[in-house]
Symmetry: D2
């Protein structure tokens, strides 16, 4: 067995095991929770990620492949209409069957067949080997996305239980070891640059990151770190949530209809701010990056501060030569730590990666030259290019190996249940 | 220990054990399902029935009583505002914690204390002993109501899973052993009678069955058996679901908005009718009483047949001298059997009890002289006297010991997830 | 021309003219308002009442009758599915065409044909003459119901305009001329009685008032007058709107979801209560009967007072030998006057008729022996016998000639936009 | 009086009169219609455009200015939270008062004062004169936007009336005088360009068109004309509305939930396509540009055709050197005419202006360097930069003098009630 095969096999097992390991501390009941259509039960994530390998690899490699359970195609299909009509998203918590045990058996069965294919990879015709490798990479990156979703969904689900279940106990308090650096900006003069990833790149990326294309940057300045909780508290205490002139019209509707007065999961009591986290009920860490806010809140803060959010291109331009370092799921602390926890040199004070995803001002849309494929996998990213915004950089729940400067995450601007924050920018001619 | 105490103790254990026994064949995940706000997870039923004993007996007997978990008061409160604000009904499936195991521990703990009280019953002052006995009877009848709900809710929940999970396998087909009797009517001339139960009765009844009061019956005729599935199929095939003139206005709205064309759980395929039951997917038993229809469907059938539904008083008048015999949960078949399965004499062909609940034309309201108590238990029945209809007779999911002629069940006229059917009546002067 | 014909002709013209006269002070725009699906634009009322004569008289008398505009059959059909699918109720305000002028032309055209028929009545075969007379009576009573609705709907519509338009200016204040009588009760011992109207009666009544049938009254006491605004204010100020134990479950949902803290149209400011009326913004008249409350509010008050609402039979029993006297639309004051305004003798202090409709505790359902006809007019009343409650006695917006003791009005228990109040009752054995 | 003053005065009167002239053929009732919260009654438009001048000019020029009716500030405020809380948008049809006549008096009163100010313009200090002129230009452009909305809203409102009212009769059929040109594309090589309008420009533009900024165009090709009705019919008949793979995810939800199978206002009967227009019910003009489709339908068509929609920058780049010529409201035909109706030379075959607005693939967001002002007028455009898409070019309902290449119109991607169509584009490297 070649080292390529060994590596792929190891990687496959490592990623798949990591998904299961995230469930170690959970009760069977926890894995069926679904507090809203936009979250899914853990058990469904476990089934769906397996379905992904079965559907896009086993069924395509082997036309005669017989499903482990033909109904799983329906139950675990998320949104691939080319495959068939998915089971209703809002009703995933109604699937007591297959049970957790049956889903784990499903995982094991598929894993065995996939591992067998990996082990025979070198005997395949080159084109097929290449296709299999590509699809495995896609499947594993897909699985990593669901690892993050499993925790953010669980967090949201747990928040509806007055018993406030804790995913994992924190053994030591989140000490604020180093003072926060003042907010400074790095200036970039106007210039033509290239954005995105070349379609011929051998490194894995999602199709929405391609192709590499020309982009003109007007002069801008980008903050050297995200806005902290302490800074956001100033906005709250300046009545930021009660001043319509600071908000986009759609954002103001959310403020009013959903009675937003604080970030999601936050409470204020006797002048003290706390939040419910995967580690339970904690005081707000003043110098941690702000988290669990919508694009609208980020945008309102920026307007209040007389600035704006960066575009995704500005963010990528600054990020692309910096080390990918920060707080990731690999650190096993599931709430953003105070900034500067991970810095060892000045260049790292940018805190671009990990910690929290950063909202940009860029609507999620196709890059010039982007082509959505017509096969079912074309539905993966392209069809969501409407009404969502781009986020960059990964969070404390993202696997380190999953992130890169060109990575484009996307959520609706009102959504708050991911680990989301932001940093400021401004136009150069403004100063 | 006296025989009274022994009997009460035995009864308590028997009823409480029966609740748990109903869960024997279920998976932990099944017990968290909640497909609609009008059903509850099995686990919640297990907790709530225990909460009932803790709240209304232990807390009232012992002012110093310390809750097993103070939050349970909130989580397992169904609708007793005098006790506190209940946890949101529509979110009961979000309570992965307390887990099934913890709820069972809660049951065991409360059972131990209650049994201790029962055993010391004879040492209590008479008034207190009387009150305890009354509350225990109420608690056990309450528990029996939830036994029926547990199965009807589970049935509804399972129906949303394309895998169509089966609560219990049926070991032999539902044979139609005896031919159905023709539909005949028993005539009752006009007369003054008394309806309901005397408040001084020593036999248990719910407050809504009291007091016994005068009621004048205009002459009427009541069918000697319920309408069967075969008879209801005639209505379906006469386009009954497409003729607005047969329906109450509210009923017609339901037909249109919810696209009713068949009873709940029914399907029609290749001219054959099947239904999804707690025993899985079964062909319709032609001579079984029609089940899983709303009041509106029963009323439309009656109009189509040129008759009407009986009033609750007419039903009670005819039922009160007949044996309480029929298909109950005790028979362990969880779908209505063909009529005449249980008859041994002609008087039993009435099939008034068991099988299916029977809709009446009577809105659920207070009997003349009814007084709702002002303590929290006053909320048990009285506050629901608005917009609901009375049903009589019990069903195949009701415990035999739970039913009596004066029993008043009540549901909204559009509801169909209980085991509900009906029989016809007409006014004597009509013929 | 006989006097019968003359009388009928005069009556027809008088009732039809009265409808139009109600619009005298309105702007064209006022007649298109529809603030909710449960109210209709004045213009639609004008068209619909005309449609009623066209559809049920002209089309049935003359098979060759040609509609003035075939689409009017669709547009002005309220809820007669036997006639065809009605235009969507919630969209009646979207019918700018036919214009007000065109609708008035439609009225005039139909009136001419109807008057022609009345004038030739004596030349018709007896059966047809009888049928025509009956239908005309029905049509005119129908028109009178819409006269009341036109004003209550207008009131509701005007209440949404911050300019608070006034239907008619009140030239003198509502003086409270006589002190209110103390609340006393008249006792009736248990007895068998007859309720409703005989089907052979020659006086007009609606089908839902028939047939006369036996009814047993358990002993009861009925208040000699309705509850006043001052008395209801005591309930408000005793926190009545914040005590769930006083409310039916459905009522409590309305209190919470719609934030009820006062009767409809009421405001409280600086300790003073005002209401928006058809005469504009007025202080609450302390001794006027309470008005614009739902059944739930009436029921909660009764519970708070330790009593209950009367049944419709109790009310009818007491009312049937008393003079029909009180404040009606004929008095041209469109808000309830202080009680005792119209009394000339003690027997009149009952104030059973006029002023406000009185909620009873009786769900609106069929009398024993009631048969709904199968022709389209069968849809008039019978199909609404679900979830609604009976009200008795008429209001200040009802024509005097329209009301009688057996009259059964019905609305949903949460509805408040009619002129609705109540009086108390209790069970004799309670005292 | 100088010619500047005269011109401004003439322009003011001409635009204001044009608004009123659009109502000439309407009934008073037509002007109160509001079939959905996203449209407004004509009467409200008449009031709001007047309110705009009163609020932003009269109140700011004269601090002591006394409102004609202080409540109008509330009633006619559209969405300026800095001015106060607007009257609820969805309830504008409930404002029967002020009546049409009163609103016209309001217009006249404000016009008189404004004209007085214009006439004294030359006596004002220069800064104030400049400010007044700027605000007048803004007010008149605002009024022109509402002229278009008045007709599109009326169209939508009329479409709910089965009588299908016609705004204006078409005196001759829409003849297709010239054959349509084949669909060709003009190619533009990659280049850096400038987009938008300089902030120092003396010609009027909206703030969202500024500032002029650098933008890099990757190579693209743009269609020389919009897609026609005949071409869109091919998409319909190729099952385009039933193939989820052609649609953005949000678009597919609209297709399913709102049962889209045709453009808005279209019907298909016996194989023939018709549409309801402001000129009544008309056959589809095959070579007219497609109209009344959402962004999602345009995008699905483009995907089906293997292409994409142009970006707003691509469109502007091609349009900026071409004559602004086409079918505008000035032509007084209120539905798109067949293409080539207005061409006199080949360069005009582009049909970029008039006819229908053209959807672009560009989300509506801030240009680099854009600053939203902090005064109430800052709410005009900037706060809507979320979830909407840019449209270019104007339509047959846009005043000719209102449009320019840099003009950015914006609507939600699901909206169809404007006169909206599109043209195709592709990336150069694609071919």
């Amino acid at each position: 067995m070649s080292s390529l095969t060994t590596n792929l096999s190891d990687l496959y097992i490592q990623v798949r095991d990591q998904t299961v390991a995230l469930c170690d501390s959970l009760e069977v009941e926890d894995m069926l929770l679904q507090a809203s259509p936009f979250v899914s039960p853990i058990k469904w994530h476990l089934g769906h990620t397996t379905w992904f390998f079965e559907t896009f690899i086993l069924k395509s490699l082997e036309p005669s492949y017989v499903s482990i359970n033909p109904l799983y195609e329906h139950l675990f299909n998320s949104y691939y209409h080319s495959i068939g009509t998915p089971y209703k998203r809002s009703q995933r918590s109604l699937l007591s069957r297959p049970t957790q045990k049956e889903v784990m058996r499903y995982r094991t069965s598929i894993d065995e067949i996939i591992c067998h294919w990996i082990n025979t990879l070198e005997q395949l015709p080159e084109a097929q080997a290449y296709q299999l490798t590509s699809l495995l990479q896609l499947g594993l990156n897909h699985e990593q996305q669901h690892q993050e979703l499993m925790l953010t969904d669980l967090h949201y689900n747990f928040s509806h239980n007055p018993l406030l279940p804790t995913y994992q106990t924190l053994h030591k308090p989140l000490e604020e070891s180093k003072p926060i650096l003042p907010l400074t900006f790095i200036e970039t003069p106007p210039q033509l640059t290239e954005i995105g990833t070349d379609t011929t790149s051998t490194t894995f990326c999602f199709d929405n990151e391609t192709p590499k294309h020309g982009h003109y940057l007007n002069g801008f300045a980008l903050a050297t770190r995200p806005i902290t909780c302490a800074e956001f508290i100033e906005f709250i205490e300046s009545d930021g949530y009660h001043r319509p002139e600071l908000w986009l019209d759609e954002g103001w509707h959310h403020v009013q209809n959903e009675h937003w007065t604080l970030p999601l999961y936050w409470t204020k009591s006797n002048g003290q701010y706390h939040h419910f986290s995967l580690h339970g009920f904690l005081p707000i860490a003043q110098t941690a990056p702000i988290h669990h806010i919508s694009f609208y809140e980020a945008d309102a803060y920026a307007r209040w501060a007389g600035m704006r959010l960066p575009s995704e291109q500005e963010w990528e331009f600054i990020a692309r030569n910096r080390p990918i370092k920060g707080q990731f799921i690999d650190n096993q602390i599931y709430t953003p730590l105070p900034l500067r926890q991970f810095e060892t040199s000045l260049s790292e004070t940018f805190a671009l990666f990990g910690g929290t995803w950063e909202w940009t001002q860029s609507p999620y849309s196709a890059y010039p030259g982007y082509r959505q494929t017509l096969d079912p996998l074309g539905e993966y990213n392209g069809k969501f290019m409407s009404k969502q915004m781009v986020l960059k950089g990964g969070s404390c729940l993202t696997p380190l190996s999953h992130i890169r400067p060109t990575y484009r995450n996307f959520f609706y601007p009102h959504e708050r249940w991911q680990t989301m924050g932001f940093r400021l920018a401004y136009d150069l001619e403004d100063k």
